[in-house]
Symmetry: none
Subunit: 242 residues, 2 copies
């Protein structure tokens, strides 16, 4: 096996993916990808920063609806397991022991989901989390061979797919206020790591009153209602790093 297989067809699909400029097009792309890889199902499932879900893929609409209605997101072992992991996860290696999980599994099979599956967790900025999933009906051995053979391509596809999805994320307007001054950054950082004002001030070798001015100033610049809010905003915007 080469570093990653050369597949003109996949190349072409990825090209389409990169050039697509609407969310709807992703559905088309994922169907082509499914056919290209020759699996029963392929799904991209995105849990946005606000908790909304977006997905495209080849599961039956009934299953998708059922999944959403029942809030299966919170009990699906695939989601729960992938959330804790980094690398592609074979469904067999997940924890299906709980009663709810087994019921879910059975129901999924009834709705046409394959007995085999591979899910790749993807994480973006601001807590974005997505899953790129392949599912198929076949023997363990066949599935192991398939996943081994295409592992690298799939990781890349997942990456590119998510990159595109991120472009379409609504309301990701970079709310650029002004940056914080160096001292403000230091002060905010110390507060963010749990110091109270007295400790932070001592750590910076300044008076607590001065430190307070920085925090207030940062709060003002960030348009925050209180210190905690300011820290949260600063973290979200990457102005400080903890």
């Amino acid at each position: 096996m080469g570093f990653a297989a050369r597949t003109p067809q996949l190349e072409e699909i990825l090209s389409q993916l990169e050039q697509s400029d609407a969310l709807e097009e992703l559905q088309d792309v994922i169907e082509k990808l499914r056919d290209c890889f020759g699996v029963d199902h392929m799904v991209y499932h995105w849990v946005s920063s606000t908790g909304e879900q977006y997905g495209c893929g080849t599961y039956s609409p009934e299953w998708v609806q059922r999944y959403l209605d029942q809030g299966y997101l919170r009990i699906d072992p695939v989601v729960l397991g992938c959330f804790q992991r980094f690398h592609p996860v074979d469904w067999k290696r997940l924890d299906w022991s709980s009663r709810a999980a087994r019921a879910f599994q059975k129901e999924a099979l009834d709705y046409g989901v394959g007995n085999q599956g591979l899910s790749i967790p993807i994480r973006g900025p601001n807590g974005q989390f997505a899953l790129y999933t392949l599912s198929h009906n076949c023997s363990d051995r066949e599935w192991a061979e398939f996943t081994e053979r295409h592992r690298r391509e799939l990781i890349l596809v997942a990456h590119y797919f998510n990159q595109k999805a991120l472009e379409f994320e609504p309301g990701r307007v970079p709310e650029q206020g002004q940056a914080l001054s160096p001292r403000e950054v230091e002060a905010m950082t110390l507060i963010a790591v749990g110091y109270n004002r007295a400790q932070a001030a001592e750590s910076l070798s300044i008076s607590e009153h001065t430190l307070r001015v920085y925090i207030e100033s940062a709060r003002f610049k960030l348009g925050a209602m209180n210190t905690t809010h300011a820290v949260a905003k600063a973290l979200s915007r990457g102005l400080i790093v903890v």
Copy 2:
């Protein structure tokens, strides 16, 4: 260009990476990778959820020491910029406008860091964040060509490298498992967006006392010293999103 270039040499290095079973070996691997890609520097830099840093790479020890001593992590535009993005980032596209950033940049050059750079952000479970960086001295055109040619391989290498690093993560066991309950997440989220306890409680239609219990519980679970700290930790670990 194929889907990803076939390179036996890279293949071999990745093999070594996958089989390595000690952190020290990663240093060897990254040097080989640097030579394989023919760039001046290659660095893997990991910021754990607890704020500790680990890195391996080919920067001079003096620069690494300087970086750590000065806490450059918090002002490095590469880190700050990559934190907001998903795809590989060319250093030229970052914001170097602040005074601190320019001083940092100048100093980095003095310490042997290249004038060109490409950094790939990587995110793991529990708010893990890492950077896989290549740096080189060459013209803009050469660099653009290089990054275009190797983009896909580099994404994969970054993925594999991080996967290995995660295996070695110290203290991974104690950190995990302390997920917040749904109510705690709601409470923390409201606090994070600037509500005070009364407002948050009203928003959840519960008494302020109850809300307080959630916050305290979350604080305890997260090992935080105060509410602000807890919010920062929850954000860093991706337990809540604003």
